[in-house]
Subunit: 337 residues, 3 copies
């Protein structure tokens, strides 16, 4: 595959055939992630997990994915204060750190920093999030979840009807997911947000020029009626001038079980990039949905492990060897999935 040895910096690198292949590999990772089998295919390999910005779950998801393939993880969390403060360039940092591992995942608060780092790295670099710019594995796991949920309903991503709800202006995940949807055919996208927090115009334009149908609305009930997926998002309050500014929109669109029952088709899938805000006053996805089998938010985070395993396997070119290094699981694995 052409991603062998490649950096994964943005979703623009992915053609539809790449996504198809990635997802096929991710599917093949299920027995290992679900503990039906163990594989040691990356026994001896080292992941450099360079989180110059904190993100516990993304970091641990990547690390566990690498462990599940048999590899080791060396990591750093928090800003590389010393070296940067001493005036080291990202190029130098990359040259040095890339001597310590076989592949690197990097997160950094500055837009473009991961690409700059990758230019100096001697091993493949995966972007684990560079500020407001990109977080490609999040977009890929979202799309993989859409596909998996639709498959269990005998559907495909082509002809998908999806509602994106909430802060569509600042939410990085809905931007990236929208870009990926341009690879598919005949998608209907309902964008439900306050006017001030609408999806950026260029993204809407790109969706339309892909032949997709885009409907913008401020009414939740209109948006979620007759769709396959409701993708809810949290208010990105850290992007507002003040908490008071964010308060104007907080709790505007709340999906709970009664709203769901009244407006959604049966089996409409509910997604969210997490964390969801469960505080009184917010609750974009109410806790009373927790027993709804269509709530896919935790399958979504589980899928992140599959997609990251698949990326590692493809980049390090071991897809065909995973099962040759498999063995049985010795320990108790019940009540997991």
């Amino acid at each position: 595959m052409h991603f062998q040895g490649s950096h994964i910096l943005n979703i623009g690198q992915f053609e539809r055939s790449d996504v198809d292949q990635l997802f096929a590999v991710a599917d093949a990772m299920r027995p290992y992630a679900h503990r039906d089998k163990v594989t040691r295919v990356l026994d001896g390999a080292i992941l450099g997990s360079m989180f110059f910005e904190a993100s516990t779950r993304t970091r641990i998801s990547f690390g566990s994915a690498f462990n599940l393939l048999g590899g080791q993880v060396r990591e750093t969390t928090g800003f590389e204060s010393t070296a940067i403060a001493k005036g080291e360039s990202l190029y130098d940092t990359a040259r040095v750190l890339s001597g310590y591992s076989d592949v690197i995942v990097m997160r950094h608060p500055a837009e473009g920093s991961v690409a700059e780092f990758a230019a100096g790295s001697r091993v493949p670099v995966i972007n684990g999030g560079d500020g407001a710019n990109e977080h490609p594995t999040q977009a890929l796991l979202d799309l993989f979840t859409i596909r998996s949920e639709l498959h269990s309903r005998k559907r495909e991503i082509d002809d998908l009807r999806i509602a994106m709800v909430g802060d569509l202006r600042y939410g990085r995940t809905v931007h990236s997911l929208s870009r990926l949807l341009s690879l598919y055919k005949n998608v209907e996208i309902r964008l439900v947000s306050p006017t001030e927090l609408r999806m950026p115009g260029d993204i809407v334009e790109a969706l339309r020029s892909s032949g997709h149908k885009v409907i913008e609305t401020e009414v939740l009930e209109e948006g979620i009626a007759g769709v396959d997926i409701v993708y809810s998002t949290r208010l990105q309050e850290e992007r507002f001038a003040s908490p008071a500014d964010a308060d104007l929109y907080r709790g505007r669109f709340r999906l709970n079980q009664s709203v769901y029952t009244a407006n959604c088709e049966p089996n409409t899938v509910i997604m969210h990039p997490l964390p969801r805000d469960s505080r009184e006053g917010a609750r974009e996805l109410d806790d009373d949905l927790n027993d709804n089998p269509n709530l896919a938010i935790f399958r979504q985070s589980d899928n992140g492990v599959l997609v990251r395993m698949a990326l590692f396997a493809i980049i390090l070119d071991v897809v065909d060897q995973v099962s040759a290094h498999a063995s049985k699981v010795n320990w108790y694995t019940e009540r997991r999935f």
Copy 2:
């Protein structure tokens, strides 16, 4: 065993037969912890080490115990600031993080938080300390140490005579240990503390209703005469209104070699949950005891590894497989124990 797949949240879960079984397994872990053999029984398993409150040694003790069984560790240290600050519930955090590992150890500053987390987790959770509430593995390693030290003196926990010395009001470890001692027969407990820092009444009551003899005193010499074990504790100064308040009690009960020789029976075991306060003015256990072979404080912390290995082996149901995955040690292991 009935702890297969279970959460370990508090010592109230343990019957005497559970403790007996746990300790038998812990004994069987010695060859691996002492580097006579290596086992790979958990090769491929992942421990999620979630320390939302710092505790270097508890964290590393758990991590090493898991490594000694052949498993991998993914971990976080410090508060999960991002997600919690964004309003995520502990239930959601648990659902997500439990998708990344086979078992979780969690420490958190809030009482009850680990149980709340466990309710959302899809994998077994071990409480690594939740504020003033519980730290069950500390109590278990203390009791295991008492048993091991007594065994080498041809004695059992039944009929034990133990003195607990110091800040018995705020010291979490002496509370938990007292509760565990209720499982045994005919124990004599001397409680040596300033009046203001006495053991809470309900714990004393529980000991007495178990048929144990409890003697409270403010005189160190009285307390430590004729006992098998002296369990010394540090002043929990962080629990006092001010350092000046703590100063009233600091250095009140000091055990050193001359006090030991003058008052203790030969071979009286000295324990302490560590860290001990070696600063001038405190010194509840003087450094001049370091060469006393009855000073068991470092055997105590070593035993923590055995007890944690045993818990992992029981929860993950691999007790009977440990030795089948054993092999010899390749490297230099002298001067360790």
Copy 3:
């Protein structure tokens, strides 16, 4: 070898024969570090990586070295605030932590702290830097790099001509490297610095009494003419009373491609302990040297992994077993070196 089971605390422990042996072992580690082969010789061993002072690259270099030999790493970063604040002695900390691993690497801001810790440790301790005192593996990797670069030019360390440039007063690395050079014969050392930042007199004296030729100068062009190695250093601005004091010397000696071409012999090797200061105003080694094949600064950091692997192999006495536990590499390893 007599370092089996030993602490590595300072370079004064090394005789020339020790260095020769260490470097021979480091050479033998290349196939593993370069991913031609994998070895599992330390499968089951645990490194305690105790970084009580932050140093991302030193920490990850040690950790990766241990992983490359097949071992596991348990680590802590940042100050062991809790226990120390509670009055625990370094002896106690060492006794406890040394029960969790087979070997420890420790970094700590206080001079002499690592030796104090080692005195309480039951396993070998490697000094990963103790304040202004020692950082022996840095000195050893510098010397190993000099040897490797010279070998590729059919030369030996004996008869070396080296220029050390910059802040020679506060730079710990040039002090240690100078001490190691005393083990060799007929070395010529040019010391290029501002008068105020000259190499300490006792080190110059020691070099001279080893029979070496030492020339001190404030003129860069004089210093770098006719040497084999230029070892450039960063201004240790954190050691100055104020940034303004440091500014007096900042950017004083800048090596760039045109200065190099005009003054250096062809194939003069360029070294630097890193990080180099790439900010406008500093730039002791200009980025325009990045394509110069004699720029050895990243080979230098790569060599750190080899030297640390070798130290682990020697201390843990597995040198002769490394290749017996070798196997082939499964994954993509191109474009690394």
